[in-house]
């Protein structure tokens, strides 16, 4: 069995000790798994990712993470007007492996170019980050994670704002990263997409369910996760309405 890269037990997370945003989080993620982190706006998805990345301290419970963690943020948040090329952004991934007084050298630059090639952007290395399309920016940030050489990737709503071809391209890339033995936690609103991945983690201020999509994504779980946001459609199906983007910072 593949090794466990993240283990959370009785985890509570939030910004103030007396007011946790998220409680009762219990899950384990193994190498090679894509985990959909589902939940409504304000349900705690971003808070969980920020806690896993070390940006927030756990308020209660235990959290064990094996190896480095790479963060792929929402592209809207990354500064579009920054004077950096795609290669510059990929190079930022090397800083976690270099001592503070070292600048990225020739071998690191080669690794950054290889990472851009791996996400299909070798031709765009010298383009300004802010000039790239949404899907390309998302893949540059994945390249940064590859340079970071992290076994765990946290992706915050990576599909928001992507057109269908870009989303399909990202799908293929994430499948490849998982089959390479990485663990991916992907905050998303797309329940149908999550059915194709290995695990789902449903959050609504607390953990509602964790498991394989087949077991976990029952009608009760979806109702408890999305509550009033859920729409019942003709034929008895349940629909999560399209996501309205909110910045949680």
């Amino acid at each position: 069995m593949s090794r466990t890269l993240i283990a959370a037990h009785g985890l509570a997370a939030g910004y103030a000790p007396d007011a946790p945003v998220l409680t009762g989080v219990d899950f384990e993620v193994r190498a090679g798994e894509r985990v959909a982190v589902l939940g409504p706006n304000g349900g705690g998805k971003t808070t969980l990712l920020r806690t896993l990345s070390g940006d927030l301290r756990p308020l209660a419970g235990t959290l064990r993470v094996e190896g480095r963690i790479a963060v792929v943020p929402q592209t809207e948040r990354s500064r579009l007007d920054f004077p950096v090329s795609a290669l510059d952004v990929a190079l930022m991934g090397s800083l976690s492996t270099l001592p503070w007084w070292r600048r990225p050298g020739r071998s690191v630059r080669r690794r950054a170019r290889e990472a851009l090639a791996a996400v299909g952007l070798s031709d765009h290395a010298d383009r300004t980050f802010g000039d790239l399309s949404g899907g390309q920016r998302q893949r540059v940030l994945v390249a940064r994670a590859l340079v970071q050489d992290a076994p765990v990737l946290l992706l915050d709503e990576p599909y928001v704002g992507l057109d269908a071809p870009s989303a399909a391209q990202l799908d293929g890339l994430l499948a490849r990263l998982a089959s390479d033995g990485r663990a991916l936690l992907i905050a998303t609103h797309d329940v149908e997409q999550a059915r194709g991945w290995e695990r789902v983690l449903c959050l609504n201020r607390r953990q509602i369910a964790f498991g394989s999509p087949g077991e976990a994504l029952t009608a009760q779980v979806l109702k408890a996760t999305y509550g009033a946001e859920l729409v019942e459609v003709a034929g008895g199906g349940l629909l999560v309405p399209p996501h309205h983007h909110h910045d949680h910072d």
Binding site: R50, S53, G54, D55, R68, I69, A70, V71, P73, R77, S78, R79, L80, D81, F82, P83, V84, S85, D88, V89, L91, M92, G93, L95, S96, T97, W100, W101, R103, P104, T128, G130, D131, L132, S133, G134, Q148, A150, L154, D249
Partner: protein, 289 residues
């Protein structure tokens, strides 16, 4: 030939030459550091630390100790206060900085008028005395400038990564508070040496405005820094020449010239961006569809 040598006449004067050397040193140091100031949103902090030198300068003149020491003491106090507020990005930090800025100006004026009765020096402390620069001022500008270039070369990649994506900074291993503290301390030190040339209220003319101007035209950090040093040197030299020719205060002349160039470039940039088909080359925030 005759006409050129007449035009360059002011630069034959030794005190104008000393001023020009000071401008060159600050262009390489303060203006290049200014790119980090602009990129990391520290323009107001830079202005505030420069202004905070004012009461220190009044004290130094009144009690007869080194103006650099007096300026460093009060600017350092403000820098420590801002660093203690940490990375609070809310309005609280800016409000606190603004309060200290006002208090520093008021304290300086009260000290000058009621304690040391040195009102006459207020103008040169606030708006600079580029034509009375001495070797000690130049040495200080050279030392802090060299430090800024070295720290920028070593820590620049980290300053860039944190500014680009603060949320991922910890995961990237660049969240150490020391990196940002070094930048804050460096900006304060640079404000202190810049104040000797262009005064407590006009330090931004060298520390912020050239970098903000070239940012509109250049979209890579390295090129931006080179362009900023070149522009600051050109603006400083032309401003100095104009000041001598027109018998105007040099710090204020350089500041007015820099602001005018910024306005002209900003307007040109806006017009160029508005023309269809030109979006491809725009550096700032104009994402392709």
């Amino acid at each position: 030939m005759m006409r050129i040598s007449l035009m360059l006449g002011p630069f034959d004067l030794p005190y104008v030459q000393r001023a020009l050397v000071e401008i060159a040193l600050l262009s390489a140091g303060a203006s290049v550091l200014g790119t980090w100031v602009v990129l990391r949103g520290l323009s107001f902090y830079a202005h505030a630390t420069a202004t905070a030198t004012f009461p220190g300068l009044v004290l130094a003149a009144g009690l007869g100790f080194s103006p650099l020491l007096g300026a460093a003491a009060t600017a350092g106090a403000l820098a420590l206060g801002v660093a203690a507020l940490g990375d609070r990005r809310d309005a609280g930090r800016d409000t606190a900085t603004a309060l200290v800025l006002v208090a520093a100006l008021a304290a300086g004026v009260v000290l000058a008028s009621d304690v040391f009765h040195s009102q006459g020096s207020i103008e040169s402390l606030l708006f600079g005395s580029l034509l009375t620069i001495d070797l000690a001022d130049q040495a200080a500008a050279a030392a802090v400038g060299a430090l800024a270039l070295i720290l920028g070369a070593v820590l620049g990649a980290r300053w860039l990564a944190v500014g680009f994506d603060p949320a991922a900074a910890r995961a990237l291993g660049v969240r150490s508070p020391l990196f940002d503290a070094a930048l804050l301390a460096l900006v304060a030190a640079m404000a202190v040496v810049t104040v000797q040339a262009v005064g407590a209220l006009l330090a931004g003319a060298l520390l912020v405005v050239p970098a903000a101007t070239t940012r509109l035209l250049v979209d890579r950090v390295g090129r931006w820094q080179l362009a900023t040093a070149a522009l600051a040197l050109a603006e400083g030299a032309v401003g100095l020449w104009l000041a001598v020719e027109l018998n105007a205060p040099p710090g204020a002349t350089i500041a007015v010239l820099s602001a005018a160039v910024f306005a002209a470039v900003a307007i040109a940039r806006t017009v160029a961006d508005a023309r269809p088909g030109r979006l491809e080359n725009a550096p700032a925030g104009t994402a392709a569809p």
